[in-house]
Every structure is written in C-alpha cells, then in structure tokens.
Symmetry: C2
Subunit: 339 residues, 2 copies
C-alpha cells in the first residue's frame, strides 16, 4: 500500500477521506468569496469582475480581478480546480511517487497591489494536490512593503504565529523560515519583502520541512525541525483552513492604518521601481507561476499577480539615510520580527 | 584529441587559433564602440554612461546605458568577457563535453527601447564560448515592433539575408527559422516580434541547426537543414563579424523613417503594455538572462534589457480592426517576410 514506506505512520491517519477533494475545493472557493467581499467593502468604489474558465485538459476556475479601485490599483483573487494525466516535471522531481498517475489540484491564490505606497503588496496561496499514492497541502502568505512600519510587520507576523500555534508549536518557526528562503531573490540578494509563512508537500509524514528545495538553502534550518508524530489529513486541512481564515485579520488592519497617509511622486516612483522585484520573483522563481505555465494554465489568471505598472531603472540604489534606504537596510533580510 | 568523434571534420579546421579569445573579444568590444557611437549621434542629446565591472570568479565587462535620451527611452549595450571553473547546468545539458572543464565566454549584447512607439525595440547578442574540447559561437538579432510597417520589417530582414548570403545560402533560412522558434512565448502563443536571426552552438561540425532545443519545437525544421561540409573557426567568426556589422544598416534606417511620426497616449499605453511581453520573454525563456543569473553575472547588466516602464493589464485584447489588432493578426506569427 501507499504508506508502507513510512512505518511509523498508520495507514489510517495518512489517507484522505473520500470527500477530500470536494471539501478542500469548497473551502478554497469560500476563501475566495470571503476575501473578495471584504476587499470590495474596503475599496468602497470598485468591484471584482469574475471570469469563469475551463481548461481543455480538465478542470477550470474563476478569476476575479479588481482594476483601478480606490484602494487597490489591481487585485486578483483566483480559484482553480484542475486535473489531468500527469503532473509537470517541476513537481515530479519533488514527488517521484506521483509519476504515471493522474493528478488533482485545487487552490486559491491572490495578489493585491494597493495604490498607496504605504500599504504593502500582499500575496496568498493555498493549494491541495492528489496524485496516485500521494497527496499534500502547500501554500503560504507573504507581505511586501515599500515604506514599511515595524508595527505593521509585527501585527502581520503575530497574527500568523497565533494561528499556527493553535495547531503545532513548530509550525510558525518552521514555515516562517521556509518563507524567508522561498521568497528570496538570489540575483538581488534580497528577500521579496518581510515574509510570512510558506510550506509545501505537507502530507503528515514526519518532518514539516521536506527537501530538497530548489533554492538549496534549506539545509541550514533542518536542525530546527524535529521529527513529529504523524499528522492526519484532517489535522493538516484544519491548519490550512486556519491559515486561510487568518488572511483578513493579518492584512486588513494595515490597510486601515495606512490608507489615509498622503504620498507624492517620490513614493510613487519608488513603489513602481520595487514592483519590478515582484515581477522578477514571479517570473524567475515562483513555483506557482511555473506550474501554471507548464500545465497550460490560463495565462491571464496566472499572470494577474504582475503589477499594473512597473519601472526598472538601471543601477538604481537609494540615497543613504532615506526611507527608501531603510527598506533595504532593515527589512529585506530574514529576521525574527517577534523578537 | 578533441575532434576524434567527428571523423568527417579534419582537426585542423575545427580548432580555434591560439589568439581566438583575444580576436573575438576585440571584435565584441569594437562592436559595442561602433554601435554606441552611432546611437549617440542619432540620439543627439544624451550619452551612454559606462560602468566597468569585475566578476569575482573571473573576468568582467563594461556596461553602457543611455537613459532618457531624445530617441532612446533606455538603451543598454553591454560587453563582457568572463571565465571560470564550470559552465552552468543549462549549458552543460547542451554541451556535455564541456563538463569538468574551465570555460571562457565573451560577447556583446544590446537592447534598445525607443520612446516613439513607431520605432521597434531591437535586441542583439553575439557570443563566443570555449570549454575544454569544445568551442562555439551563438547569438542573433531580433526586432519587436509595436506599430509595425511592413516595409521596415522587409528592410530589416533583407539586410540580414544579404549578410548571411555572403557566407552560406543556408544561413538565412535556417537562422531565421531558429529565431522564430526561440523568440516565441509559448504561454501567449505569440512570437516576441518579427524575428531576425538566431543561432547557437555553431562549431563548424555538420548541421547548422543543433538540437536539442529546450523549447522542443525545433524538430519540425530539421528537414530543411542539410549536412554541411565542415566550416572552420575562421569561417564562423567571419560570419559573426558580418552579422555584428549588419546591425546599424539593418536598424538605423527604421529609426530615421519613424522618429518624426507623432503619437499620443493611446500608442504610448499600447507600447507599455506590449513591453510586458518583453519582460515575460526575458525572465521566463531567455538563455542569456538565465546564463547570466546562474553564473553570478552582474545583475544590473543582465537586466538592463528590461524596459524602463511597463504595464500589465488583466485580460486585455485589442479592439478588432485597429492598428493594435493588426500587430497580433499579421505580425506575431512566423512567416516569410521576403515573399
């Protein structure tokens, strides 16, 4: 049977229930609904336009995008549920047991690009896979400020930690570190922002942190992650649901604190410049983007994470002792925000 | 010896001369000089700023960038000459004989982003590699119009064909097709523009077109490419020099025809939107970009190909029967421009 290789884990704990796909996809859709509803209230002037789409090889989704709102310059909140003959090579490298099996994948992903440079960009994605003998949950959330406030970063991370701690004391430290590693632009030697949570291949078997990670920087953290008792499918799904539900409490207080702050051309130009890093990350490194493009996903939905307006400037670096320099100096490095 | 596996090719024809590296790098620098000088004359108001840089693992380069010129919104013309212990995996897959050998690489690359949407963006790159038993030339040139004129495309391609035909009758058809395949955005099902020339791994041995190509679309053209008599290092270097020298005659007539055309916000916005495709191509597919980032190249020099200002718009498509629709309908598909 499928779990014969992990003798510590009883088979019963490590098999999805028969209604797993329906329950997860219902949760993912509900998360999309809740988030869109609250963001529409907060925006106050614009709405999300929905497009439903089908994928030729199996499945489909509903993309919701708000353009040119009061609060959001662009916001995309996407649900998808797809299936097909084979997972793409980028995933099979990580889960060779899935080779030759049909797969099912569902998830919600979201990127919000506010107008105001004092409000950070935020990204969320939670996803669930089944393929032959294996299943797993993955995803996370991360915050990308332009002009950061330490108290915002602390509030964001504290909300995530409180959520994680309800499920397992190792979750926050492990997934927070994984996030710092994953959202790292090697060619810039910068984190994408101030991090959050990231995890992948959570299937209840042993370690929380499952390598190999393509970035190759994971090994340094492995000693922090002990062997765990098995976690069931229900345990992990409950955790993912809590994470999803933590999005609004983690992010919306920052909107409310910062949306009234005025800014000028300088702040706008810096925001556009820093958005270039977001594009670089998503197109060069991001697993979700690469998965989507490799599986003939819907290009417009995959790339709705890209900001509406972006600037590159050759050889730019901020003047010392400015707020822009402070972002680089203090915030774009992995650190313990809850010190 | 190095060529023992290709028995048709005499060793003498297929070994670089002892001054190969010096001659190629001198040519590449000279090309950078000539192009920058002529573009500075054409711009008339701005100049290229040069930064010389060194690479810790060996070598360096000189980056030249013009920002906010009269003609060019941004133009980067880069020369580099680097060496090190090992080629990165993306190249070793194509040239396994180079594994375990030190390498040398030199080249010139250039991307020009004019202000005026009636003037196409243009890209050029020529490069030379040596690694243990193998050496090769690669590179090409391609044109990316926003509001194309057929006569400009014809003039560009005719100049390239005339240049190729001086060296070998198979060069233009083969390298023109390779360009169409290479500069193709699979996730958009569009060519990047109207093509030009592209070739890689030219080492004088047999076929002009050497697979496997990572895009996997090469096979359909293989029947057009016959086996050739050997070409010497000198033959191929002479061809690459001609290609480099063809840049100004291929592109500057288009500048001169179109720079006086007036345009408005509509054309500007479409230009910014289409520049997004340029970013997508360079970050997702481009070998030179991936090579540079994988070899710890100088990030600012590698990414100076990215446009200064870019726009993404979810679910945009042009109104039928407009000049914008004409770009998609007529120009973003591989075709024979010289009738």
């Amino acid at each position: 049977m499928t779990n014969s290789s992990t003798s510590e884990v009883p088979v019963s704990a490590n098999v999805p229930p028969s209604d797993a796909q329906a329950r997860v996809s219902q949760f993912m859709k509900g998360l999309q609904d809740d988030v869109c509803q609250r963001l529409t209230e907060l925006d106050g002037s614009s709405t999300f336009l929905e497009e439903s789409w089908q994928r030729e090889q199996g499945g489909g989704g509903r993309s919701r995008v708000m353009k040119a709102g009061t609060l959001l310059e662009q916001g995309g909140v996407n649900f998808s549920e797809i299936w097909g003959d084979n997972l793409p090579p980028s995933i099979l490298v990580q889960r060779p047991e899935a080779a030759g099996h049909r797969f099912y994948a569902t998830g919600t992903s979201m990127v919000l690009h506010p107008h105001n440079p004092y409000i950070p960009t935020v990204h969320l994605n939670y996803r669930y896979f089944e393929a032959g003998p294996v299943w797993w949950f993955g995803g996370g959330i991360d915050l990308t400020p332009y002009y950061p406030f330490r108290e915002d970063v602390v509030q964001f991370h504290q909300t995530l930690k409180d959520t994680c701690d309800q499920h397992h004391p190792d979750y926050y430290p492990t997934f927070k570190h994984w996030c710092d590693e994953y959202f790292f632009l090697k060619h810039r030697q910068e984190t994408r922002g101030v991090g959050g949570l990231f995890f992948d291949y959570q299937d209840g078997r042993g370690k929380l942190y499952r390598g190999p990670d393509p970035e190759g920087v994971a090994a340094q953290y492995s000693d922090r992650v002990g062997e765990l008792a098995e976690r069931s499918w229900e345990d992990i799904f409950a955790f993912v649901q809590s994470c999803g539900s933590a999005f609004l409490p983690a992010y919306t207080p920052i909107i409310e604190s910062r949306r009234g702050m005025s800014y000028g051309e300088r702040e706008r130009q810096f925001q556009l410049y820093r958005r270039g890093r977001y594009v670089e990350f998503n197109l060069v490194y991001d697993r979700g983007t690469i998965f989507g493009l490799q599986t003939n996903g819907r290009t417009e939905s995959i790339l709705m994470s890209l900001p509406p307006l972006v600037r590159w400037e050759y050889s730019y670096s901020p003047e010392p002792e400015t707020p822009e320099a402070e972002l680089y100096k203090t915030y774009l490095k992995p650190q313990n925000w809850l010190g």
